[in-house]
Symmetry: none
Amino acid sequence: MDNPDKNHIGTILKQQRISLPLTLQELAGKAEVSASHLGRIERGERFPSAHILRKIAAPLGFEENELFTLAGYLSSQSPRTAERLPTYGSGQLDPYVARVLSQEPPEVQRAVIGILTMLRSIAKSMDK
Amino acid sequence: MDNPDKNHIGTILKQQRISLPLTLQELAGKAEVSASHLGRIERGERFPSAHILRKIAAPLGFEENELFTLAGYLSSQSPRTAERLPTYGSGQLDPYVARVLSQEPPEVQRAVIGILTMLRSIAKSMDK
DNA sequence: ATTGACATTTGCCAATTGGCTAACTACAAT
DNA sequence: ATTGTAGTTAGCCAATTGGCAAATGTCAAT
């Protein structure tokens, strides 16, 4: 209702926090940022300043660079690192996605693709 | 008087601007940031947000990374992202999975992770 | 059902950011 | 000297951030 746009950095932060797993309070403790603020960030009611972003990077296991990029504060690739990203087909693989998926066993990775394929065919049939 | 501490990012920004040389107004035009704000930043009365910092990087000939570091938003050297690609954490990303996913738009890639997260939490709750 | 212990969300508010506009400050050229 | 003009600074203010404390939600154990 309040926040139709699910495409904020908070979504990623929350997924990462849950997967660790950490509570908001624990993260708040480690990062030295108030839990209430973190909560609002996760649900997109606030947007973390660079200062806050930096504080939470390590506790969440992100590199500062990576997090700044995900938050849209740094453009996706600084020239130096640009060429290292593999380009399969036409698009690029989101580094965060790669990172999360690679922590899953191969069969889960494949299963994910299976689900994606199913969703595509469902979407296609609804289209008609 | 107001600002005894000369050790702010503004000092660097001003030196760079002068050396180009650019006026505040010209920089304001290129960066799409108000000249008054830029002026205050240069004399340390305001501190640029990540958003503003990003806008002025190119016009001043800085790399975004560099500027964020100078401003103290990024620690001096984040370990290079090179070489981290093949192994995130302990696992590897299946090349086929990478290829399929990378052809999807970023929001779909993210959605996939969202689904994975949900499945994990479902699995966990069934576990108990 | 109730209690207790955590976890999350909300209400409130001080502090900061950043834009707009109106002063001020050079410094030329008449 | 005076006017013009480009550049910088200051006053004001709406919007945003982020902390604290209180309210609310969650859930296991009685």
